[in-house]
């Protein structure tokens, strides 16, 4: 717990070696589940995101150091999802790749891992990203049927196989669709967050306010052309399908709660506040980020938006209710700040993934809570409050949608462009704090600075 001594000087790269810089990013517009990408596979979408990136930066035939990414909901046939996407792309087929998965933090963790290799000098360039589809999600056979089929395939005789098949019951034939429930608790992420929301006493109005800002910020960014060099359309979709530029507090207030409906009767519970409007919808999409050493970017005449300064991954004990499932970023950030000698206020932008509006709010509330920061985070007191006008300034997952593994790439590319723009405007370095919470009580935070 936050035992790392702050390094001397502020925000210095912690490793020797070279900087890992963010050159740019690309994603496809995010589609609502069952929408425009209903028949697109993770590989289709990851390849499309990659192809847009290759086209933007002229990487055709280029042998990159590595392409790293993954998907949360993944078919067994997609065991080499990213490598297969590379082979289907215009990159050199000699570009290595591997799959990585850390639930919703997949994309950000991929950025961290690629930048670490760059900083170590093991690779000069790399792409990090992620893809997820709930529309083309794998359907598994039930456990009974699966065991019977496995037993049959292992059986040495016809009799053995018949015996295995005979064990199949009609109920075994029902397919299993993937669930987003936490395997260890059986509670959906929304139910978990509803408990955290109740614990922290976050109001419906505050959540709707976050959701509304997300839609308005994202719509303004689209209208202002911010995404012109961050997004490549796919399958006829040219903007994020979930975005509602005309959303209003009144409209959001009419939505019925969907999570935590049973909690009102609980001791310590509260009236339900989480609606479809202040929770992320199920979404399809993919995103990638191009990273490289400064020297590589220079040699290739590529722009440099920002550098990945440092990152920290945390995990919390949520299984028996000690901590909220999505509270890990609250833990990761102070550790990261301590290592970098930074304070919470030292940022021009805060990109906090909006798994739910209340995720953002409980995280912020936690940092402002003296008692919590001392007992749970091992700090001397409250970490502090942030300037809300710097929070998710171009919208986040509530408006854009949240195709799990694709969110990290979306946020990192957005943050990199934001700090680059700010630095260009002011002539001073700009800095962003990025955090993504994930299933399993995981959370990743990163510091990104204009290059």
């Amino acid at each position: 717990m936050a035992t790392n001594k702050p390094s001397p000087g502020r925000s210095t790269s912690t490793t020797p070696g070279t900087d890992a810089v963010i050159i740019g990013g690309n994603r496809i517009p995010f589609a609502r589940a069952g929408g425009k990408y209903a028949t697109a596979s993770n590989q289709d979408m990851f390849t499309a995101a990659l192809e847009g990136l290759v086209a933007r930066y002229g990487l055709q035939g280029e042998r990159l150091g590595e392409v790293v990414g993954g998907a949360v909901l993944k078919h067994s046939r997609d065991f080499n999802l990213v490598r297969e996407s590379v082979l289907g792309s215009s990159l050199s087929p000699q570009t290595p790749a591997y799959d990585l998965q850390q639930a919703c933090a997949t994309g950000l963790e991929a950025v961290v891992t690629v930048s670490n290799k760059i900083r170590l000098g093991q690779i000069e360039s790399g792409v990090a990203g992620g893809s997820d589809t709930v529309s083309d999600a794998p359907i598994a056979v039930g456990e009974g049927l699966r065991r019977a089929l496995l037993a049959a395939s292992h059986a040495k005789s016809l009799g053995g196989r018949l015996k295995a098949f005979a064990s199949i019951r009609p109920g075994d034939l029902a397919p299993l669709t993937p669930r987003t429930d936490e395997p260890r608790t059986g509670l959906s992420m929304g139910e978990h967050q509803a408990i955290t929301t109740a614990t922290w006493g976050i109001s419906r109005e505050a959540q709707d306010e976050i959701a509304l800002a997300s839609h308005h910020h994202l719509a303004a960014a689209w209208a202002g052309g911010f995404f012109d060099d961050l997004v490549t359309p796919f399958r006829g979709l040219t903007q994020d399908q979930n975005m509602r530029a005309d959303s209003s507090a009144e409209k959001l207030a009419t939505l019925p709660p969907v999570f935590g409906k049973r909690l009102a009767a609980s001791a310590g519970g509260a009236e339900p506040t989480m609606t479809a409007g202040n929770s992320t919808p199920l979404t399809d999409g993919a995103s990638v980020v191009l990273l490289g050493s400064r020297a590589w970017a220079e040699a290739k005449d590529l722009p440099v938006l920002a550098r990945v300064v440092d990152a920290e991954t945390a995990a919390v004990d949520y299984v028996h209710g000690h901590e909220g499932l999505l509270m890990a970023p609250a833990h990761a950030v102070p550790r990261l700040l301590a290592r970098q000698g930074l304070e919470l206020g030292d940022f021009d932008f805060y990109e906090i993934h909006e798994a739910f509006a209340s995720t953002v709010l409980t995280t912020l509330a936690a940092w402002e809570d003296d008692e919590y920061c001392r007992t749970e985070l091992g700090l001397d007191g409250a970490l502090g409050a942030i300037d809300r006008s710097r929070l998710n300034v171009n919208g986040s997952s509530l408006a854009a949608g949240h195709p799990f593994a694709a969110t990290g790439g979306r946020i990192v590319a957005t943050a990199a462009k934001l700090v680059a723009q700010r630095a260009a405007e002011t002539g001073r370095p700009a800095r962003a704090l990025v955090s993504v919470c994930a299933a399993g009580g995981l959370g990743v935070a990163a510091v990104i600075e204009s290059a």
Binding site: T185, A198, T199, R262, S266, V319, H320, G321
Partner: protein
Amino acid sequence: MTRVETLPALPALGGLYARGLASSGRIAVRRTVSSGAGDLVLPDVTYRVAGVDTSVPDVAAHLERYRRVVGEPAGGTTSAGNPAGVPAGFLHVLAFPLATAVMVRGDFPLPLLGLVHVENSAAVLRPVRLGDQLEVRAHATNLRPHRRGAQVDLVTEVTVPGEGLAYRGVSTYLAKGVDLPDTSSAPGTEPDARGEWVPPLPTARWSLPAGTGRAYAAVSGDRNPIHTSALGAKAFGFPRTIAHGMYTAARALAEVGTGRGETYDWTVSFAKPVLLPSTVDVAIRPSGPGGGFTYQAWSGRSGTLHLTGAVTPRS
């Protein structure tokens, strides 16, 4: 002095049920005849089976199926390098036929099929490992009046010869409507305060499919029709099959996880049964600084309490 009767092996449950059905009918007849009589006595006998060999593949396979049904993680090894002890719930299952054998004796005064499992308390005093040769004992004790009938404790014990008592389980059953002499003063051990009970914030949710009863019946041997067949459940006044209480308790034990340690006490008391299929909200929380966990499970829809219990490490 209690008489110890040694059986050659743990009995098969199928045959016991047949006998149980028969004796239940006989007891019912007898009870009708001697209604109001206060002459119910427990048989003063302890059943004993020695040399229960857990090294045979059948037991390993049985344990594997049990683990899968209740969600116990694979055993592995302990920090000391020993194979992990088998879960208490499995020892309960292992000894269950012997306890049942006591309950189907002709001189057992209560009808097997009408018995309601209301409480269970088990202690793992030393780890029992797959491969140990075990001695298993069972007897009935403490027949006592209850507001709604009579209660009896079935005690099962597992001993590792040369090491001592490893497990002791006490299962409390209620025979509804059976009169003991002083029922007027009988305590109500059922949590009667369910109206006042307020569920805590859940930490988990169980989605129990309709086949839950059949799945646990297959690994526990407890094929009581109220758990396995809709018709059977209706015959006993339930609209649908109900989950085995011990299944829910065993699942809670499993979900406490490694925090329970190698030796622990595990208690449960059952309130309203869980009708299947069902979604059950669960809270499993550390009970204090001393270690140990308490758990509650209830219907998220109605707030009706299903069970409460605790798992407390002994070391």
